[in-house]
Amino acid sequence: MTGTAVKLDAINGRFDALAFKRDFPILAKLVHGKPLTYLDSAASAQKPKAVIDAMTFAYENEYANVHRGAYYLSEKATSNYEAARETVRKFVNAAHAEEIVFTKGATEALNLVAASYGRSVLQPGDEVVLTELEHHSNIVPWQLICEATGAELRVIPVSADGSVSLDSIQSTIGVRTKIVAVAHVSNVLGTILPVEQIVELAHAVGAKVVIDGCQGVVHEAVDVQALGCDFYAFSGHKLYGPNGIGVLWARRELLDAMPPYQGGGEMIATVKFAKSTWAEPPAKFEAGTPPIVPAIGLAAAIDYLSRIDRAALIEHERDLLGYAMDRLVTVPGVKLIGTAQRKASVQSFVMDGAHPHDLATVLDRSGVAVRAGHHCAQPLMTALGVTATSRASFALYNTREDVDVLVAALHKAREILL
């Protein structure tokens, strides 16, 4: 495969985002006759050619069902699929490849934990602790399982700046807490949560920690063993990979003890009408034909990222965030939503007198793609006292010029809408 070398500007050592931009075919497209300024990577990132090529290659040359046939293509597809698992293991520094369960997305990964682990351990009166800034996919599965088991939800409040204080975490986690399920990084505000301290506090009362890492795995270098959590879930499509693939990492001993999530082929050892027995993890949790080529695409995305200096990428995203925060507030009437100290490159904002949807429509005609709405976080919107926000998120291919285009489009929007 063609290698994209580390693209650091040789002269000043700066991160060369423009060079990365060229790796993403869609970013060369025009939208409404304007160059695309894509600022919605937190919803779904664009895909580098390396990912698209790897998937095309798999379909054209090495495709068959996995773990089934004794023929060349099936063996090849199986070894590629399992190699993808190993790539993911290394990427999050899991101890064993068997701890990596492929799902169709992060939502399924979180539902799997709730339905399998949650259902088997929760008793009436037990508590599941979440934060107020969770995505619906880390709220609703827990509501469903609490309803089924008689356990209760407790919610850690978010401060006005979008941070989650240790005090509020400490006062919400208690002796009845069995599960703490939190985002690593807020998809709306960019807040980086103090997950290490959350793990410490949760483990002190014997609770397990589930981390929704959809944004975390994109914006931070994740080492699940160093984090000390028990479950870590993320999706492929926010990590420059394809959609239709997600990952659940869980400690081997937890996966061993957990009942299956779905039944079907692949997840069994033996099937008899009297009683069936289950395969070992991860197969136990991968019923049916898995997302084979999406897994290969995800591995290609991770390979692509692995050729980039991660520290330089994080620094680049921090630079863009800081620049965006400084520039956005120069637009009259614009107010930033989410100004916590520790933040990833995701910024929500509102403009006085302009609804986020109207703003998004006007920005779109300037080729600028931002998210508008409740971002699947309605409880957070309520807590912040807004019905919706606009959100710009910055990825490896964004530049300061993209921020300038956004700001110019916001000025134009004021002319049209106000």
Binding site: K34, H357, R365, A388, I416
Partner: protein, 170 residues
Amino acid sequence: MTSAAAESNDLLSLYQDVILDHGKRPRNARTVDAATCSASGNNPLCGDRVTVTARISSENQIEDVAALAKGCAISVASASLMTEVLKGQSVDAARRMFKAVQDLCTGQRQPDEAKADVGPALTAGVDRLAALSGVQQFPARVKCATLPWHVLISCIEGTDRATTETGSNA
């Protein structure tokens, strides 16, 4: 015309003055006194929410109608224009206007055609509502314009049922 100018024209025809005016200062943004029916509706994808109340006479005339809308300029303006146009009209006229609004917003009919559809008594109303037809160029925003009308229809159809029940009780 350059494509940049065309884009700008699309935006200006969507956000024309009457829409911005009604979006910022919606008329009849209240609850109707002695309402005979009410209905609420929302768009779960974007969070827009509209509540319509109306007082409908035994002759099926809309004596008063009001809408509380929370959302974007398009949905708030559409709700406001709707209440202005429908006050004093019959329930049947409201149904015909709903069809006209749908046709205008999706581009199935031009304003003149819509006027011919609804008949001479309602042409002035169509002229007012034609301001919404700018959404034709913005498929993602058509629902914003039609949401208040869907809520209105639930409101008045609810009344129809209530009226029938009252009739059968009597």
